[in-house]
Structure formats: C-alpha cells, structure tokens
C-alpha cells in the first residue's frame, strides 16, 4: 500500500483534546523563548542583554540605511520562505531552499555574465531572473521527482542537495567562473545596467524587493483562487481523497516542488543581481535555513510571510551590528538564529495542533 507512506499516522479526527488553550499566542511565546535564550547567550558572551536588545533594534532600524539593509535581507528571506511555504502547503517539507538558492544564484550569474555578447540591459536582467527561477525549480524538482517515483523522503534529499549545491558553487567560483583578477572566490562583475536597480538613491534597497512582494501576492492568489492550488491543498489534507478523484499525486508533488524551488532560485538571483553584483562563494549566511523560520512563523501564509521575513531580516542586521559594536562573537549570532528557528517552528506547530484539537 504505497499510499500509506503519504499519510500521517493518526487520521483525522485524531485524538482530539478539548482544553481551550490560547493557542494563538504560541508562536509569539516561541519568539519570546527564543529572545530569552538569546539574552542568555549574549550574557554568557559577556555583554548586557538589555543593552544588546536596544543595539539590535538600532542596528536593524536605527536609520534609513539600516532599514534598507534589513529590507534587502527580508527580500531574499521572503522569496526563500515562499519556497518552504509552497511545498508545505502541498504537504511537503522543503529543507532545501539553501541549495535551490545557490543553484539559482549560479544560473543567474552565469547567464548575466556569459550572455552579454548577445543581449544586454534589462532584457538580460529578465533572462537572468528567469534562469535563476528555472535552476532553483530543477534543483528542488529532483527532490520532488525522487519523492514521487522512488518514495524517497524529500526532507532528506533536499538537505543532501544543499551540500551538493554549495560545493558546486564553490567549484564554479574557484575555477570555471572565477574572475581573472580576483583574490576571493568570486565571479566577474555583472555590469550595473544588468543589475537590479536601486529603489531609492543612497539606500541599498533594490527592485528585488518589489519582485518578492509580488511573488508573495501571486502565491497567495495561487492557493486561494486557482484550481491547481486547490488540488495541491487536497493532496496535502487528504491524499487518498485526491487519488480517488483521479488527481495524480505524483504529478502534484513534482509540480509543487518545481514551483517551490523556483522561488528559492529567485532568492539567489536577487542576491546576485541586487546585492553582490556577482557570484561569491558563501554569499548566503544560511538564508535558506532561516527561510524555514520565516515560513513557519507565518503559518505558511505567503502574505504573513512579509512581516515575518522583515522580522528575520532585522535579526540578521541587528545581530551583526551587535557583533561589531559590543564585540559579541559571531557564533553567538548563529546560535541565536538556530534557537529562533527552533522555537518558532515548535511554537507554530504546537499552535496548529492545538487549534485543530480544540476545534474537535
């Protein structure tokens, strides 16, 4: 019975409790717990947690430039978060946004650099974005394909694909795509005319921000209004029902993964075209993993992911400011990120479970 592998152990209506817990506060409790833990980490690192808190807020939103940086991070996080959320809403767990984003960045950079003799300007920008989307889609499509046809768990395959993608980009920028003059592992620079334009002069915020907002909107519409989005959700809520309607579950799994990875690929593209202007080894401080937190905190709702992405973006800029100004080691920052994702995911997962239980 291969179908059972799609199916959670306890079918609805599972063992339902009836206590009225204010489950809506759980994601917030998750954030609170994460902040408390971070405070302890900061304290261990030898700084005053209260001073640290105001430093973080200052670093993230203290002036227009800082706010711009925060929104730039949020842009990438939002697109990568959509990759997690789209998969999740079709009943799949995509831990591979990081790898998909790397592949997207590579494809985007390669097309922007090597197609210059043929096309240029904003047409090349569009082609480059498109290439990023496709590369990300293919990368997660592999995981979707394996899930559909070999029943391999996409959670595991997407993680494995992350390592391959990271190594692949490293190899690219050390050899085949390496800039001739570079001391770092990086590619040639993409001409400014091909890069994403800045929205406001003097602030790093680029047009990718608009792309991300539009993407979130489109994903929302996709699930709420299209027949395909509807079918994907049936597959998530009850694959058996989808099957007896004659909707191919395998096809839906591949499709959802393709779409999901496409957005992560775009996240890589905007990093290349909007932030760095080239492909750099290690350009992502783990956006693809933070994206899991972005999606969970928003309960996988693409519109709610907008503030969620800003929150996580502020975390990155704020923490790195903290690191610089109070000499808190960077490992503290990574630990704090991990703690945040963990608590937020746990809090929201619990909230969802409680909500379903109390609804009985």
């Amino acid at each position: 019975m291969p179908l059972s592998s799609y199916f959670p152990a306890f079918t609805w209506p599972a063992f339902a409790g009836n206590r009225r817990v204010g489950f809506a506060v759980l994601p917030l409790a998750g954030i609170a717990a994460a902040l408390a833990t971070t405070a302890i980490l900061v304290w261990i690192a030898g700084a005053n947690p209260l001073a640290a808190a105001s430093t973080i807020v200052d670093g993230a939103f203290g002036n227009t430039y800082a706010t711009g940086v925060t929104l730039v991070k949020a842009t990438t996080l939002l697109l990568a978060g959509l990759a997690v959320g789209v998969a999740y809403r079709a009943g799949l767990v995509n831990i591979g946004a990081e790898g998909q984003l790397q592949m997207g960045a590579a494809a985007s950079a390669a097309s922007a650099i090597y197609l210059q003799p043929i096309v240029s300007g904003s047409l090349l920008t569009l082609i480059s974005l498109f290439a990023g989307f496709i590369a990300g889609a293919i990368w997660s499509g592999i995981a979707g394909f394996c899930r559909a046809f070999f029943k391999s768990n996409e959670l595991v395959t997407t993680i494995l694909l992350n390592y391959i993608a990271l190594a692949f980009v490293s190899v690219l920028v050390s050899g085949p795509m390496a800039a001739s003059s570079a001391t770092f592992r990086e590619s040639e620079r993409i001409p400014a005319s091909v890069q994403l334009p800045k929205l406001i002069a003097g602030i790093p915020l680029h047009a990718g921000f608009i792309i991300a907002l539009l993407s979130a909107l489109l994903v929302g519409l996709f699930f709420s209004r299209t027949t395909l989005g509807f079918v994907l959700q049936v597959v998530r809520f009850n694959p058996f029902a989808a099957r007896s309607q004659g909707w191919s579950i395998n096809r839906m799994i591949v499709l959802a993964m393709l779409l999901a990875g496409g957005f992560a690929g775009l996240a890589g593209s905007v990093e290349v075209l909007g932030v760095h202007g080239r492909l750099i080894d290690g350009f992502s401080p783990g956006y693809g993993y933070l994206a899991i937190g972005v999606s969970f905190l928003a309960l996988h709702n693409s519109i709610a992911m907008i503030p969620s992405a800003v929150f996580f973006g502020a975390g990155i800029t704020g923490m790195s400011y903290l690191q610089r100004s109070l000499q808190v080691p960077s490992s503290t920052m990574f630990a704090a990120q991990g703690v945040l994702i963990m608590f937020v995911a746990a809090g929201t997962a619990l909230a969802v479970q409680r909500a379903r239980q109390s609804a009985g």
């Binding site: 019975m1 059972s4 306890f10 609805w12 009836n18 206590r19 009850n238 007896s244 004659g246 191919s248």
Partner: protein, 506 residues
C-alpha cells in the same frame, strides 16, 4: 457501574447538538442510542469519553459527580469509546496499538512480555484470532475493530461505548460481536451502542434511547417495539419509495460496462483473477462479498485507479485504462463513490462547499482559465446541500464537523448530482439513518430507471438484495456465483461469500 448524565448540553455555534439530555447506563445492560443523522449520538458519547466538554449538565458515576475533562481521565474512570472509524496508528503493530492503552500511564518501561501474555489472554477470551505482530493498517476492518475491543478491555474499561460498530463487520462478524458484548454485559460491563440498524437494536439491547435534533425524545423497551415504530419515533413518516422495477419489456438495452477477463495484482499476488462481467443500461448489478476478496480492487481497476494486469475494460465500447480516472469523471462517464468514505471521500479540514466542488472543479462555469469561480461554486454547494438535505446547511462548515451520516450524504450528493453514465457506488447507505437510506436507495433506483447503468458494491446484504437486478458474489478474486434477488437468501449468499456452492457465472 451506574453512569448518569443529567441535563447534558453541548452547543456548536448556536446549534445544540445535545440539549439537556438525561440518561443513565448500567452494568449488565446493552443500551442502544438511536436517532437520525446529526441527532447528536456521537456528540453524547464523545462527551462521556472526555473528547468534548459539555456546556452544561453533570455526569455522575455510582452517585459521585465527576467531570471528565480528557480521554485519559475517561479511561481512568473506566470509560472507553470504540469510534466509528478505527483510531489506530497504522504503521505500528497490532500489539503496539493495543498496549498504547497502558503505555500512556505512569510506567516508563513497558514490560512487553507480560503485557503480550495479558493481551493474548484477552483476545483468546473474546474468541479473536489476532495476529499481534501484523502492521495495524494491513489487517481487515473487522480485525481492527477487534483490536480496539482488546485495547478497551486491557485498559480496564467498565463502560464500553461502540459507535456504529457493525458498519464495517460482515454478517458473521456481527453475530460474533453481539455474542461477545452480551457476554461482557453479563460479566458486569455496561455497554452503550449506537446503530442505524433497527433490528440489531431490538434484538440485542435491553434499553433504547432515541435522540432527535439533540433532544431525547423517547426511551423504549426493545421487547415491546417494532422497527417501524422506532423509525417513526426517529424520523416521522418515511418518504415513499420509487418502484423497485419499472419494466419496459422487449426493450433492447445497450451494454455500458464490459469487463473482460480482467486480473489485478498486488505484490505479485493475483487479487482479481480473470473476472468478466457486464452492466447494461437500466440495470443495477450488485456485487456482494466479504470485504477484501478483490471486489474493491476490481472496482478501482474499472475507474482507472489501478492497473489491470490482463484483460480489457470498456465503457460504451471504448477502452478505459489506468490513469484515466479524472477524464472519466470530467466527462460524466463514471461517478464513483469509494468504499471507505472516511479515508477516500473527503478533505476534512476543507469546507463543505469545497468538498462538494471536487468532481466539477474544472467544469466550465466553475472555473475559467484555471481560476476558480467562487460564486458558481457557492451556488452549486447551496443547491446540493438543499437537495440532499445535508445538515447543518452551511457551506462554510469544515466537512469533518459534519456527523458521519451527513459526510456520507455529501459524497453521494456530488456524485449523484452529475448523472453519470455509469454509477459505481460502494456501501451507499453506510452510516445513514433509515430515512436517508430510503432516500439514497431511491436515488440509485432513479438513476437506473432513467436508463443509467449502476454497479453497486455493498457489504450490507439487505441493500444488495433490495437494489440489485442481478447479484454477483465475489470470493478470493473471482465471481463465485450469480443470483437473481429472489434467489438470494441470506444462507445462499453467505455460502457463496464463503466460497462454497452455486454455479459459476460467466
């Protein structure tokens, strides 16, 4: 044990599912709850099992007031509920599922060996032949019910509640079940049973309580009543029934479905062996058989959900194959009500309107350029809700919030409404009250009378007999006999279903 509910009330968004119900259950007695779909039976027993909190009223056990605020607490008090749908973890073994009843307690180390002995003892006492090491999802529905009974007994339950227990049991299994609960009652357990089979209620219980729209409307002594009387108390006067056959003699009926030498394999084992059958216009062909004898798999092959390893299936002369299900549904060539509605029928968290739209999702009018049209979908839902009397009549309700019978009506509604050329219905009246059953039988007959072809699969022999024009009996993957409804006595059917006697059909 004497469990008393006093003025128990439970409301769901303004509707009282239970309205000031006072009733008591005693040791030694089998007490049946009757009522139409949505009357509040399941709600009442879920309150007892600690799955729902009542809004008002009180519960006492042997005179002591209790408040049952969790399933764990209910078990500690000796109350256990065997739900309509098996509550099991399919990937765990039968034994693991059973001892889960104990593992929830204080002990952190499970004494597997000792427990195994205890479980074997209980199973043997009940006369069950359970394979304790099989995966729970791989055993039959009847065996899953046995699993749950052993689990309740292991937990030391003294009040055992069964919600529509015989739905998934074969006639023989049902008989054994009633012998067992009689014995449990004699040993001092209190038994509560919910059923829609009025004969069962009269034959096997000592008290009958009837609910209607959340209120207790009558308490009846089984020995002093008749099915007709009970039906009237439950639903009032039954709707008139469409004539069983409206013969137009001499008409040539075209063959709609033709199954020619079809085999189906699973895990390299033949589960359907070279079966041939036909269904013509204006005909209801019934397939009887103990669940798991291949009839469900043949039906999946017919609707294109399963690959036939050999043979040929045609509908109106055109070949149909694996993977064509959606196309067949879209073109109204088939309508398919799967055997296990709970598993295959609904997406429970989605709304009634969404669930009603499944079959017609891509139709013109319901969507345009791949975009759904919500107004059309809402109109469609309202029409079906009204026409098929789905309660509560609110399209935005999550489908899992409907009572069991109303979920069944939802699935039937969206299929029957399409007037498919070939209607394939499995267990259509399972979980339906007498009124709704009469009504559904009516609708199936109407399809036939309007020249549709119907293939009916049912574990309910009464249903098979009253609806079918021809009856095929399935045993171990092949047709073990063909009967006309007049020839189909319970004995005869029973024998054929067990693989004995009867001439082989073509």
């Amino acid at each position: 044990m004497h469990v008393r509910l006093q003025d128990v009330t439970k409301r769901f968004g303004g509707i009282a599912a239970n309205d000031a119900i006072t009733v008591s259950f005693q040791s030694g007695k089998i007490h049946t709850l009757l009522g139409e779909n949505g009357a509040g039976k399941t709600t009442l027993v879920r309150i007892l099992a600690g799955l729902l909190n009542p809004d008002a009223g009180s519960i006492s056990i042997d005179g002591h007031p209790v408040s049952i605020d969790s399933p764990k607490h209910a078990i500690a008090l000796g109350i256990a509920l065997v739900s309509q749908h098996p509550m099991i973890a399919g990937h765990l073994t039968v034994l693991e599922n059973i001892i889960a009843a104990r593992a929830g307690g204080q002990r952190t180390i499970i004494k597997m060996k000792a427990l195994r002995g205890e479980v074997e003892q209980i199973a043997a006492d009940c006369g069950f032949k359970l394979d304790l090491d099989a995966k729970a999802q791989s055993i039959s529905l009847g065996a899953q019910k046995q699993l749950e009974i052993v689990r309740t007994l292991l937990s030391g339950a003294r009040l055992i509640i069964f919600d529509e227990p015989t739905d998934v049991l074969t006639p023989a299994e049902s008989d054994a079940f009633f012998v067992l609960i009689r014995r449990l009652a004699d040993q001092g357990k209190a038994i509560v049973m919910i059923t829609h089979f009025l004969r069962e209620a009269i034959a096997h219980s000592q008290a009958i309580t009837i609910l209607k729209r959340g209120r207790l409307v009558a308490s009846v002594v089984p020995a002093e009543t008749t099915p007709a009387q009970l039906a009237e108390l439950m639903v009032g006067v039954l709707p008139s029934i469409v004539a069983a056959t409206e013969e137009t003699p001499g008409r040539v009926r075209k063959t709609v479905l033709e199954v020619d030498n079809v085999s189906v394999e699973e895990d390299r084992r033949q589960i359907v062996r070279r079966v041939s059958l036909t269904v013509s216009e204006g005909e209801i062909v019934g397939i009887a058989g103990v669940a798991g004898n291949g009839q469900e798999d043949l039906i999946e092959a017919i609707v294109g959900l399963r690959q036939a390893t050999e043979g040929r299936i045609t509908i109106d002369g055109t070949h149909v194959g694996f993977g064509e299900t959606r196309k067949l549904i879209r073109d109204d060539r088939i309508g398919y009500v799967p055997p296990d509605r709970h598993r295959d029928g609904l997406a429970g968290v989605m709304s009634v309107a969404d669930n009603l739209s499944f079959e017609v999702l891509e139709r013109r009018g319901m969507s345009r350029f791949g975009l759904r049209r919500f107004q059309a979908s809402a109109r469609h839902a309202s029409r079906l809700i009204e026409r098929y009397r789905i309660q509560p009549p609110r399209p935005e309700t999550a489908a899992e919030k409907l009572s069991g019978g109303n979920q069944q009506k939802l699935i039937l509604a969206r299929v029957l409404d399409r007037n498919p050329r070939l209607l394939i219905v499995c267990n259509p009246s399972r979980g339906l009250d007498v009124g709704a059953t009469a009504w559904v039988w009516d609708s199936v007959r109407r399809v036939r009378n309007e020249n549709g072809a119907v293939l009916l699969l049912s574990g309910d022999l009464d249903e098979i007999r009253s609806l079918s024009d021809r009856i095929l009996v399935f045993f171990r993957g092949s047709v073990s006999g063909e009967l006309s409804p007049d020839e189909a006595s319970s004995e005869r059917l029973g024998l054929l279903m067990g693989g004995a006697g009867g001439e082989h059909a073509a």
